[in-house]
Subunit: 159 residues, 2 copies
Amino acid sequence: MKTDEDFMELALEEARKALALEEVPIGAVVVCNGEIVGSGHNLKETENDPTAHAEIVAIRDAARKLSSWRLNECQLYVTIEPCPMCAGAIMQARLQRVVYGAVDPKAGVAGSLYNLLQDNRFNHTVELKSGVLAAECRQIIKDFFSELRQTRGRVGESG
Amino acid sequence: MKTDEDFMELALEEARKALALEEVPIGAVVVCNGEIVGSGHNLKETENDPTAHAEIVAIRDAARKLSSWRLNECQLYVTIEPCPMCAGAIMQARLQRVVYGAVDPKAGVAGSLYNLLQDNRFNHTVELKSGVLAAECRQIIKDFFSELRQTRGRVGESG
């Protein structure tokens, strides 16, 4: 039986794939009945697609594989707290549960700026767990921006 | 010089394409320097993609055409107030301005449940105008659900 930490380790693997493409290293996997049914990493720059965050890529991958937009028995593991777009996609896909690693105090809406996933005015709410492998999930991002600042001069951290 | 109403009429044309596919009839266009650079309609059921809302389809279309995820000189016209996913995508794409038709009191976050697009804690805020051809934008949805209830029995309005 795999644990939340095991699945987050796979999301971190995805984040490392983004890193190899010089993308902000965020990764996600979708799990259904203990099996990975979707995976994704940030591809925004690579694909010139503003919607290509890790969560969106993973959710679309899972929906394609399961031939259904309803992922109501699935769980999403993502290395960083979701932004509004990704939190919204999580609700649209009716995901049962979301587990994330590190908080995003600047743009996170699963506890930081808002908690959209648990606002019961929407037609779907989501179980939430945070802080799983948070240190590793945060560190890979910190290292990325630290490296970027050294090689390209001072930059903002906008994902 | 085209007006907001002219562009909303084109978004309504997109909504009619969704209707023809028996999708919830919502449409959107992206405009840059007075030209349409992206268009989309709801394709959620057709493509089994929970992210295939009109706004997302139109934004991805525009980013592909302009070969850039930054749509910061563009405006989005959409028939219904954006949900969290679409509002988030609008911010991710750095759109300058959003014009929508009818409000969505159940899931709209551009004034109804929240106003995410103008929360300056995020790294981008968006000019907003609502109520353009609101009656037409609302009516096409009302007719769709009314027809659906007649043909398939009682259904919810969850988009």
